[in-house]
C-alpha cells in the first residue's frame, strides 16, 4: 500500500494520455460485460433446466413442424411414461413487436409437468374451466401491469382465426411464480388453452407443436425416448425425443455458437486493447527512464522496479475495466427492464466480475511485461547520463 501513491502519480504523469487509455479500456470491458451477459444467458438456457426427468418430443425434420395429437394415447401407454402434456408455439404480439414475450397454447395439465412454477390450485382449476383462459408469469404481469380478470389481446403472426381475423383475446385467470428467485426470467411467458386455440385456428387443427413427458425414472429416459420415436418410424411425422436440457441446447444452437461468436469478438477487442495499451505503457516508461534510474539509485532493486511498472499497468487496466463493468451492469439492467427476455441477458453478477477481473489482471500483466522488463534491466549510470 505504501507504494500506491508512487504508482498512482506515475500513472497520471500524463493525464490526457492516461484518460484516453482508460476510456479505451473502459469501452473494451463495457463491451465484455454486455457480451458476456448475453453469452451467460444463452449458456444458462441450455443448462439451467430443473426438470432433468422431462423429455421433449418434436418433429425429427424440424421442431417448427407439427405432430399429430393422435400420438398422445400411444405415448401415454408407453412403459416408463408418468405424465404427458403438449404445447404449440403461438408467437402472438402484444400491442407492439418490441413487447415480445413467448406465448404458447398448452394442454390443461401442462403445469403438472412444471412443478418449479408455482400456480395455485384455484388458478389451475380456473385455467382448465375457462376456454379463453391464460396464465402468465409474475414478472410479465408486473411489466404490463396485468391483474387477474384482465383481458389480454394478442395479434397472431402465424395462426389467424377461422373467421380470418388475427386478433385473439384471452382472459387472465392465473399468475405463476418461479420457485427459485434466481430463475425469475422464466416468468416472462404466457400460456393459454390449447383446446380453444385448436378450435379457433384456421389451419393445423389436430396437431401439436411438441410433447413434453415425464418419465417414472430418469434412468429409463433413453429407453422411453427410443420407444417413443419407434412409434412414428417410417411415417410422415417421425419424431425426435431428447431430454429437455438437450432440446434447450439445440434451440439455443439455432442462433449459432454464441460462445464462439462472443469469444471471437472479445478476442479481437482485447488484442487491439493490448496493442494500444502496451504502446501507451511502453511510451510512459520510456519517458520515465531517468526517474526509474533515480529509484534504483536510492535503493529500489531491479525486482522492485519490475513490480512497480507491472502494478501500474495492472492498476490502469483494473481502473478502466472496473468502470466499464459497472457501466455494463447499468446498461444490462436498463435493457432487461426495457425489453425483458427479448434480448437474453443475465445480470452482471459475481461470475462475470470474476471473469472480468481475471482478464484485467492478465491483460495488465501482458501489457506491462515488456516495459517492466525494460525498467528492471536499465543500467543506472547509462539512464542517468541519458544514454
Amino acid at each position: 500500500m505504501k507504494y500506491l501513491q508512487l504508482i498512482w502519480t506515475a500513472m497520471f504523469r500524463s493525464k490526457t494520455r492516461t484518460i484516453f487509455t482508460l476510456l479505451s479500456v473502459l469501452a473494451a470491458f463495457l463491451l465484455f460485460g454486455l457480451l458476456d451477459s448475453v453469452r451467460s444467458a444463452f449458456a444458462n438456457a441450455a443448462t439451467s433446466v430443473a426438470g432433468v426427468d422431462r423429455l421433449m418430443t418434436v418433429s425429427k425434420i424440424s421442431f417448427t413442424l407439427s405432430l399429430p395429437k393422435s400420438l398422445l394415447p400411444r405415448i401415454e401407454a408407453l412403459p416408463g411414461v408418468a405424465k404427458v402434456t403438449y404445447a404449440n408455439w403461438f408467437g402472438g404480439i402484444y400491442q407492439d413487436p418490441k413487447n415480445f414475450f413467448p406465448n404458447e397454447a398448452v394442454a390443461d395439465n401442462f403445469f403438472d409437468l412444471y412443478p418449479e412454477w408455482r400456480l395455485s390450485q384455484a388458478e389451475r382449476t380456473a385455467f382448465g374451466n375457462t376456454r379463453t383462459g391464460a396464465v402468465v408469469g409474475e414478472s410479465l404481469a408486473k411489466k404490463f401491469h396485468w391483474k387477474l380478470g384482465d383481458k389480454i389481446p394478442l395479434q397472431a403472426t402465424i395462426y389467424p382465426q377461422k373467421n380470418g381475423g388475427n386478433n385473439w383475446t384471452f382472459d387472465l385467470v392465473g399468475i405463476y411464480r418461479a420457485a427459485d428467485p434466481k430463475r425469475k426470467s422464466e416468468e416472462n411467458l404466457l400460456f393459454f388453452n390449447w383446446d380453444y386455440f385448436d378450435e379457433a385456428r384456421a389451419f393445423g387443427n389436430g396437431n401439436v407443436g411438441w410433447y413434453v413427458l415425464k418419465v417414472t425414472d430418469r434412468k429409463l429416459a433413453q429407453q422411453v425416448a427410443q420407444a417413443l420415436d419407434a412409434l412414428s418410424t417410417n411415417s410422415d411425422h417421425e419424431t425426435k425425443t431428447q431430454t429437455e436440457q438437450a432440446f434447450n441446447a439445440a434451440f439455443v444452437g439455432q442462433y449459432g455458437d454464441i460462445g464462439l461468436i462472443v469469444g471471437a469478438i472479445m478476442g479481437a477487442v482485447f488484442f487491439t486493447l493490448i496493442l494500444l495499451t502496451g504502446n501507451t505503457m511502453a511510451q510512459a516508461v520510456r519517458e520515465r527512464i531517468p526517474e526509474l534510474a533515480v529509484l534504483k539509485t536510492i535503493g529500489f532493486s531491479n525486482h522492485s522496479v519490475l513490480g512497480l511498472v507491472l502494478a501500474e499497468s495492472v492498476l490502469l487496466i483494473l481502473l478502466g475495466g472496473a468502470i466499464g463493468l459497472v457501466l455494463a451492469g447499468v446498461v444490462v439492467d436498463a435493457v432487461r427492464a426495457a425489453v425483458g427476455t427479448a434480448v437474453p441477458m443475465t445480470r452482471v453478477g459475481a461470475a462475470i466480475w470474476l471473469r472480468g477481473v481475471g482478464l484485467m489482471i492478465l491483460i495488465g500483466l501482458i501489457v506491462g511485461a515488456l516495459p517492466a522488463r525494460r525498467g528492471m534491466r536499465l543500467r543506472i549510470v547509462d539512464a542517468l547520463a541519458g544514454r
Binding site: 505504501k2 501513491q5 504523469r13 529509484l295 539509485t297 536510492i298 535503493g299 532493486s301
Partner: protein, 231 residues
C-alpha cells in the same frame, strides 16, 4: 580519523563496440570518515565514473572498493541496492526529483524501503526538510520550486535515511552563484555538524574550496591531492 572508503588498484574499462576505453587506471585512494572531498579534473578524466563506483552505481572492471569495511564490488545487484539504500545519499546536478510528487513525498522516497510507518516517514521527511530550510515548501512540487530549492530537496532526500556517505555529482553545476553558495554551505554544515562523509565532483574551483580536500584526476589517474582550510 579512519578510512571509510578504501580503493585499491581500481580500473574501469568501457567497451564501445570494438573500442576499449580505460576510464580509470589503477586508482589507489583512501577517504577518511568525516571527510569532505572534492573531485576535480577535466571532462573525461573519470570523476563521475569514480563517484559512481564509490556509490555502488557501477561495478569496476578490476580492483576493489571497500566502504565501511564492506567490499561493495563483490555484492550482487540486490544486495548492492540494499546497501545503497542504507549507506549512501546521492545528489545530482539536475536534482532528479520526481516531478509528480511533492517535496515531502520526494524526500520520503528512500524511506519507502524501510519498515517505518507512514507517520514516522512523514516525521523524518519533515526533519530533513527542516534541516535544509524548506519546511514551508514541503507541499510544493519540484516545478514550483527554484533550482536552489530543488537541490536542497534533493539533499534532504539524500540525508533522510541518515547515510554515512554523501556522493554529489556537480551539485552546483545548474545553480546561480547565490544558490550554489547556499547548497555548498549546507553540505559543509552536514559534514561539520552531522559528521557526513561527502565526496563531491565539481568543475568549479570555488565550489571545491568548501571541501577539506581536493583530488585532481586526469586521464583516469589521480594526479594531485591538496588539503585546504574549508571556505
Amino acid at each position: 580519523m579512519s578510512a571509510l572508503v578504501e580503493i585499491r588498484s581500481l580500473s574501469k574499462i568501457y567497451e564501445r563496440g570494438k573500442q576499449r576505453i580505460e576510464v580509470l587506471h589503477h586508482v589507489q585512494l583512501d577517504i577518511e570518515q568525516g571527510d569532505f572531498m572534492a573531485l576535480m579534473g577535466p571532462s573525461g578524466s573519470g570523476k563521475t565514473t569514480l563517484l559512481n563506483l564509490i556509490g555502488g552505481l557501477d561495478s569496476p572492471t578490476d580492483g576493489s572498493i571497500t566502504v565501511g569495511g564492506q567490499r561493495i564490488d563483490r555484492l550482487s545487484e540486490g544486495t548492492l541496492a540494499k546497501w545503497r539504500a542504507s549507506n549512501v545519499g546521492f545528489v545530482f546536478q539536475f536534482y532528479n526529483l520526481l516531478p509528480m510528487l511533492s517535496a515531502r513525498k520526494n524526500v520520503e522516497l528512500p524511506l519507502l524501503l524501510t519498515r517505518l510507518s507512514a507517520a514516522q516517514r512523514k516525521r523524518n521527511a519533515a526533519v530533513a526538510l527542516e534541516l535544509v530550510g524548506l519546511t514551508d515548501r514541503a507541499a510544493h512540487k519540484p516545478g514550483e520550486l527554484s533550482g536552489g530549492q530543488q537541490q536542497r530537496v534533493a539533499i534532504a532526500r539524500a540525508i533522510v535515511s541518515d547515510p554515512t556517505l554523501l556522493v554529489c555529482d556537480e551539485p552546483t553545476g545548474d545553480l546561480d552563484r547565490q544558490s550554489a553558495v547556499d547548497v555548498l554551505t549546507l553540505l559543509q554544515q552536514l559534514n561539520r555538524d552531522h559528521g557526513k562523509t561527502i565526496i563531491m565532483v565539481t568543475h568549479d574551483p570555488k565550489a571545491a574550496e568548501y571541501a577539506r580536500h581536493t583530488l585532481q584526476l586526469d586521464k583516469g589517474s589521480l594526479v594531485e591531492q591538496t588539503e585546504q582550510a574549508p571556505a
